[in-house]
Subunit: 233 residues, 2 copies
């Protein structure tokens, strides 16, 4: 039988969370400044080692809660990263990390101070500072995955408030893909999918015609998927 305690196998398995939110139509990621060594005073992704008594999904939820104080946001595993030289010069030696992507509604909470964090801040994804280890790359890969995934799954709604206007939705796609859509065509396309519920409510206080609010119809979406009708933007 193999001896996993020998030096021939890996000891360090961590989880890192790329927590994404929207602020003024721009995509932002949550980072924290480390209070203690290693890498004291440097910015990093919220993360931690996987404990023996928690599943990897649980670990990611624990970390999200520690840093935001809230639970029940959209969270999904991206993938594991474990090149042979990853973190090789850290005090813990070579480490494999499992990256989770979280999509949150920033309005729903105030930032907490996580364990070991002196400061926790939202950064525009186009202006991310140098992070520890390969964390910059982990963010990049997560953004790449988001761009792909949002085309075929309605996960964009996770970033918006429960009630939103069609313009907000359009701006979300435009921000993530860095494109511009024709408004009439965007409206027709998304409405034609039959996955939005038009509310009897309008957003007011804006100096133009008050836009109608909509919400995502998850039940309807699931029904369509069952029937084999796919979402596609």
């Amino acid at each position: 039988m193999i001896d996993l305690n020998s030096e021939n196998f890996i000891k360090a398995l961590s989880v890192d969370c790329v927590i994404l939110g929207l602020e003024k139509g721009e995509l932002e990621v949550l980072l924290y400044k480390r209070l203690s060594s290693p890498f004291k005073d440097q910015w990093a992704l919220p993360g931690g080692f996987v404990r023996y008594n928690e599943g990897i999904d649980d670990a990611s939820k624990r970390i999200l809660k520690d840093f935001t104080g809230v639970e029940n946001f959209y969270m999904e595993q991206l993938q594991a990263f474990g090149e042979v030289d990853r973190c090789i010069d850290s005090p813990y030696g070579r480490a494999v990390t499992i990256v989770y992507k979280a999509l949150v509604q920033t309005k729903k909470f105030k930032i907490h101070l996580g364990p070991d964090s002196g400061e926790t801040k939202w950064f525009n994804v186009t202006k991310i500072p140098d992070l520890i280890y390969d964390h910059n790359r982990l963010v990049e890969e997560t953004l790449k995955s988001l761009k792909k995934k949002i085309k075929y799954e309605p996960i964009g709604f996770e970033l918006l408030p429960a009630k939103f206007t069609l313009s907000q939705l359009q701006k979300l796609y435009e921000a993530i893909w860095n494109v511009k859509f024709d408004k009439p065509n965007f409206r027709r396309k998304i409405l034609h999918m039959n996955i939005l519920i038009k509310l009897d409510e309008k957003k007011n206080g804006v100096n133009h015609k008050n836009p109608t609010l909509y919400k995502f119809d998850k039940a309807r979406y699931n029904l369509l998927i069952e029937k084999g009708i796919l979402f596609e933007m």
Copy 2:
């Protein structure tokens, strides 16, 4: 500093490979029968623990090579699986595994006997025996992912010989999705994508009109992707 050698953290990190191939138009998965305990004489996915001196992708390639004798096939990480009770009653205790999906051309090699394997066999994906741990589930998740991915990425070609007919390609999609396509429409659709090179060669020895052979034009595909033109079946 955290003590990763304590009992509070995970020791066992493995890689499991779901190796898929085509046989007579049907999808098959490579399994082996274990020679030694634990789970002697039971069927399992090719896999093994990640060594300290190899990356996780390297580990998956090592395993593929051990079981097929060949390298350089399409291989891609699916994701990590690590519920808190996964393999909890194995001799190694709780284990996290990273699953890789390999798409291979079965004609290109003869099956080897991997380390610890008394028998190695292709199984039709609809007739998979009971496997150890959660390996049945790992296969299911891989197939689900393949079905999704094959719609938006031209990975199906990895399962076919380098030179193939349009009918072979059509049957591949029909097998994976369990659907039927209209032949003329399928031809036009795939040819219209401009990612196939028509060869000056025909497949003969068949008792009907000899079909033209094609090959996948990877350079062209990459060019189209750069331009933002997406593959979609």
